[in-house]
Each structure stands twice: as C-alpha cells, then as structure tokens.
Assembly symmetry: C2
Homo-oligomer: 392 residues x 2
C-alpha cells in the first residue's frame, strides 16, 4: 500500500460521466492463459505485469467474496477460486489519453470499481478501494467518488492505509457549478505526471515548503468554501494552488513545463474577466498538461464560453461537445467593455489554439453499466472495442 503516497492532501471535482469518462469491462475465466489489457482498443502487452496494474488487481482480489447467482442462490465462483483465474480488461476514454486530462485517474478508478464488482469485493475499512486505486494512479483514488472529493494525505499508519479519498460534498450539494475544459493539445505530454512528481520531490526546494506550510491551510479554506458554496474563495484558492503546483514544476531540475503560451493566455483571460466583473466568476486549474479546466457558475457559463470563443477561434466543427451550449454561446452578446478589457491583456489567438471545449459539470462516482455496454466478447473473452479515431 505504499505506492503513490502523497506529500500533501488534495481536492478534486469529479466530472460528469455523460461528458467525459473511462468505460471499462473486466472478465475473469479459467480459460484465460494470462492477464491481458486493452486500452482504447489496442492491447498493451506490458501493462499487466506492471506494478501499478498488479497492485490494483491483486489488491482488490484479496477482498473478494463468493459470487452467488442472484436467481438460484448457487455459488458460481468460490472466493478462493478468483486467484486461480486470469483476467481480461478492456478500457477506453471518451477524451484524449495522457494529455493532462486525468485519463489515468479515470482509468484506474474504473478498473478498481469494475474489479470490485467482479470479485464481489468488500472493503475492510471505508476508503480501502481508494487506497488501491491510488496505487494505480495517485489521483484515481478521488475519482472513486462523485462531487467534491478530498484525498487525505495520511501517513500516520506505516502501510499508508490511511491515505484515502473521502467525499466532501456530493455533486448535488452545489449544483450550480459548471466546468469548461479547454483542450489545448492532445499530443502526448513530455513528462508523465507520476515521474514528474518524483523529480520535483527530489529537486525542488519549494515543494516541501508548499506541502507542509501552504497546502494544509488551503485545504481547510477550500472545503469550507465548498460547504458555504462560496465561489469567490473556491475560485481564488483553486487558481492560486494551480499556479503554485506549476511553480514547483518550474522549480524542478531540469524544470518541467506543463503549461504553454495558450494556457497562459487562458489564465490572463480569466483574470481580465474577473477584474472586469469585480468578482471571481471563473477560475482555472491546470493539471499535468496545457489544458485548462475552468470552473464557473451556471449563470456565467455562457458568458465565459462566448468570451473564449471571441479570443480563441475554433477550427473544427466539433469544437464544443454540447450542441445546446454551443447554440447559447453563439447567440450570446458579449458586453463590448468586457471584450476591450480582455484585449488589454491578450491578443486574439491563432485558430485552433484551443482544439476543443468540453462543457460539463460535477457528476457522480463510478457506475455499473449494463451488459450491452460490455467491451469484451463473452464467448471469446477478447476485446471488441474499436477505436474509431485510430481508423480516421
């Protein structure tokens, strides 16, 4: 349980599965001759032996129970039998992989959830599944819950079993929250977030200070802001903390750059918008990549959407994932004083700098889908998902 132990607590918002998610099927059989994994329709032959993957599979299997036929009440698989079967996994993301959009968080959370269903696994303490997802990808632990989720650092216990995720508030608690994800680049990033963080811990002299002396207080403030539905504070802490995370990346040796000039212009746009409004109406956060995640409230989301469209010219037809939102944004009349205010800080970007915008909101944790969504052929045990993009 000691993989991916954090140096500070953290908080995230789980996004709605209707708009972005990982879809995962797991199957176990005595007929399988090895563990196999398909990601986005392609087999990853080395993955099943990797520490991260093994920690999840073996960890959940330890919590397995007998599988009982719900109709006949007969035992279909005895709990000891699971460890004598290999498993097949197929998973795909409905959004770009490894581009700083938390694809591995979604993927490992879905994997642990699916394995838990398959094995009928039962937690021995609350949050135990999250300690397993964490070992796949740190932030995956939070993605096991919906709404606003904290990852409690833990570390009091030697095996780090107290490093767990905990829901702070459900997605229904603050339903006005809206999220716009601006995809700046969907190419593979230079540095994976896990290896990047390891280099930062080893070389950044600011990181430890941040972890010990800055983050704990900010965690309290932002959880309080969520309880109070106080967007001003929620947004300000979100922005400051995103910037500070990227500061520690830059303070790493050699430095790590996740944000680029387009990211920077999105930041300037948000600050210009808030300054014009005289309040925090939008807040940005950047993960390990150049893409911006913008938080706002339903009453401002069309305005900020229109503002982005004004300064970041779309290139493709599928610029925005949601047709109704696109229609609203296109017909919105921006205040000319707002456009002027933003023009003082940024120039119109070149077409295609933002490739796509996902309009979404906070959503629930993992859900069990029906058999008709299965990605594995029940007869052959093989993947049946075909990645359309790889054929285009």
């Amino acid at each position: 349980m000691e993989y991916n132990t954090p140096i500070n607590s953290s908080l995230s918002v789980t996004l709605h599965q209707d708009d972005l998610c990982a879809v995962t099927t797991v199957a176990a059989s005595h007929k399988f001759t090895s563990d196999r994994l398909w990601i986005n329709g392609e087999e990853d032959e080395s993955a099943s032996s990797k520490t991260r993957f093994r920690a999840c599979v073996d960890g959940v299997r330890k919590l397995a129970t007998d599988r009982i036929d719900p109709n006949t009440q007969q035992v279909l698989v005895k709990k000891d039998e699971w460890s004598r079967m290999f498993i097949h996994v197929s998973s795909y993301n409905t959004f770009p992989t490894a581009a700083g959009l938390a694809s591995s968080a979604a993927g490992y959370a879905a994997l642990v959830f699916a394995l838990a269903k398959l094995f009928g696994a039962i937690e021995t303490f609350p949050g135990e599944f999250s300690t397993l997802a964490r070992q796949g990808s740190g932030s995956a632990c939070r993605s096991l819950y919906g709404g606003f989720v904290s990852w409690r650092m833990g570390g009091q216990k030697e095996d780090w079993s107290d490093s767990i995720a905990e829901q702070v508030a459900s997605e229904d608690y603050w339903p006005e929250i809206r999220v716009l994800i601006c995809v700046v680049s969907d190419t593979k990033k230079d540095t994976s977030s896990t290896s990047g963080m390891e280099t930062s811990v080893a070389t950044s002299s600011l990181l430890q200070h941040r972890a010990k002396n800055v983050v704990p207080e900010r965690m309290q403030i932002i959880e309080h802001a969520i309880f109070n539905r106080d967007f001003e504070t929620f947004g300000k802490i979100t922005m400051m903390d995103s910037n500070q995370f990227h500061s520690t990346c830059l303070d790493t040796y050699p430095p790590i750059f996740y944000m680029n000039d387009v990211s920077k212009n999105i930041i300037k746009l948000v600050h210009a918008y808030n300054a014009w409004a005289g309040e925090v109406r939008a807040a940005y956060t950047f993960d390990a990549g150049p893409n911006a995640v913008l938080y706002t409230l339903d009453k401002y989301v069309v305005e900020i959407g229109a503002l982005i469209l004004e300064f970041f010219t779309p290139l493709a037809d599928e610029y925005i994932n949601n047709e109704e939102f696109l229609r609203q944004v296109m017909s919105f009349n921006l205040d000319t004083s707002l456009v002027t205010a933003v023009q003082n800080y940024i120039q119109k970007s070149k077409p295609g700098d933002i490739k796509k915008i996902y309009f979404t909101k906070s959503g629930p944790g993992p859900r069990h889908l029906g058999k008709e969504r299965s990605l594995i052929d029940i007869q052959t045990g093989l993947n049946i998902f075909i990645n359309e993009k790889s054929h285009s």
Copy 2:
C-alpha cells in the same frame, strides 16, 4: 535610503560595454530652469520629478565637493552651489529598453556614475554610490562594478545603508566566461520588474521561503564556484535560481509570466546540450522578460551558438552583433548526435523566434567617456542624441 530594499542577496555578471551599454551625459547649469531628462533621444517630462530619479540626483549631490579647474586650481563651482543648479541628463541604451535586458539597471548605474563625476562626489563609506543607484533600480547597484558582483541584502541598519553592491571577482579573474543573449522579444513587457516584485512579495507564499531558506546558501555556493572557476556548479546554481525566481512569479496572484514558449525551448535546448555533453557546458538565466542570457566558456561558445542557429532560424541580417563570431558559428560542424539529442526535446522554431543574439563577455564597471561622446550640446544645454531606430 529605503527604496528598493531587497528580500535576499543576489549576484550578477556585468556585461561588456563594447557590446551592450547605457551611454549617459549629465550637465548642470544656473541657466537651466528645471531638471530635464532625455531617454533614447526623447524627453521624459515626468521622470525628473519621480522618486527613483530624485533619490539618485539628490543623493549624489549630497556627497558633492568643490569643482576645481585642473589647470588653474581655481574653484569653478563651490560644493554648495550644485544644489542651486538644475541638471539636464541624456541617456540611451545600445540595446532594447524595458524588455527584460536590465536597461534600467544600466541606465541608473550610468546616471549615478556620471552625477558622481559631475559633482565630484565622494563616498562616506565603500559602496555608498551603489546604495543610491539601488534606489533608481534595484539591480543598478551591481552594475556600478565590473565582473562578478554581489548585492549584499543588508537591513541590519535601519536606513538600509548596508544594502550595497560588492565586487566578488573582476572580469579578468575568470576570462573564459562567455555570454550569449538571445533576444526573444523587444516589445515592452506586461509587468515592470519593480512592480512585479512588489506584487510577488505581497502574494507569493513561496517567495519568503525562497528568500530566507534557499538563496543564502546558494549565494555562498555560487561565490565559491566563481572563486574556483567551477563552471559546473556556477551553471547549475544559475539555472536553478533563474527557474526559482520565475516560480515565485508564477506563484504571484495574479500570476506573472515573463518567459514564453520560445524561452522554454531555449531552456530545453540547454538541458539537452548539457545532457548530451555529460557536463554543464551552458547555463541560462532569465530576468524579468522572455530573453535568455546564456553563460558558457570560450571553448564551447561557438558550438552552442551553432546549436541555437540550427534550431532558431534567423530572420534578419543583423542576427548576431559580432561578425567574427557569426562567421565561426556559420562554419562550425555540429555533431549529428547532438542535433538528434536536441530534436528529441524541441522542434525547429519558427523563423524570427529569436530576433537577435548578442555575443559578449564579462566587462568592467562604468567608464568616463570623452567630451566627443557628449549627448548634450554644451552651448544650448539640450539633448543632441537622435535615436536612429525611431526614424526608420
């Protein structure tokens, strides 16, 4: 003496005046009816009343002595008389102003040096002139000396008169040091370095930690590296500290960005070059702007110059300020394994991303030029410098 007091000590390399400098003329006369200032050929009507400028002029004048004709030994101006005259100042830079190339440091150092000559000013303690230049622009205090110069933070004395510059080693001590300045942009920057630093002090929670817990040790290490002519350590500390300075800018709220994607690519090129060489052969530092200052040794400067040319295509004829260096760089055969190594990190930049390269080295402190270089007409007392660029 309390303007521009630093939150940590710092070190800089004074560049050679043959390649980049500020040229300044000061004149005093009973006939003048106000203090007047021309910068790059244009009068700045508000400057003479500004605190920064006044601190320098009034500060140096307090140290004035009688002006004696060297031939006749007659007193030309009694020391009390200086305060009853207005002064005229004309100054220009041989490099872009306000683009993060320390134009104000050079300008204020030249101003204080020229005023001291005019007024026959005498320091009451070593480094007193640097405390005056510091009030014009913080880093100007270091530019009063040649070679490697430390700005001792001070602050033990209430009036900060102990916040002075001190030469660590002259330019002759380590003559192999070479400097390449890559001008990425010569447009005026968003944030002036003085106001940027004030916002950082007020809002960055990493800055105080850096100032108290990181910089003091690094100052010792880098001064030691200079004494030992240890480029590996000198370069590494230079890079780490540049990155950490920009980290605290990013940690400022709202964040300050001085570097852009071109700066970032220069950083990646330097790390790829050093990794390929298995040693630190080049080091970058970025001031309050996107331009890179690269330090290297004479034996590598042509190689790194050729490498920059390979990845950053020049646009104009005057790409490099030094014809002999340009010739050497153009005829240098880069190792193909080096080009491949860098290609793994950056793509060829678009032409013009680096606008100009200054090839230079460490040089002496301010010098007194002859009358034939005067920028003020001795008859009219008015500026005679014409900025050629403003006419093109």
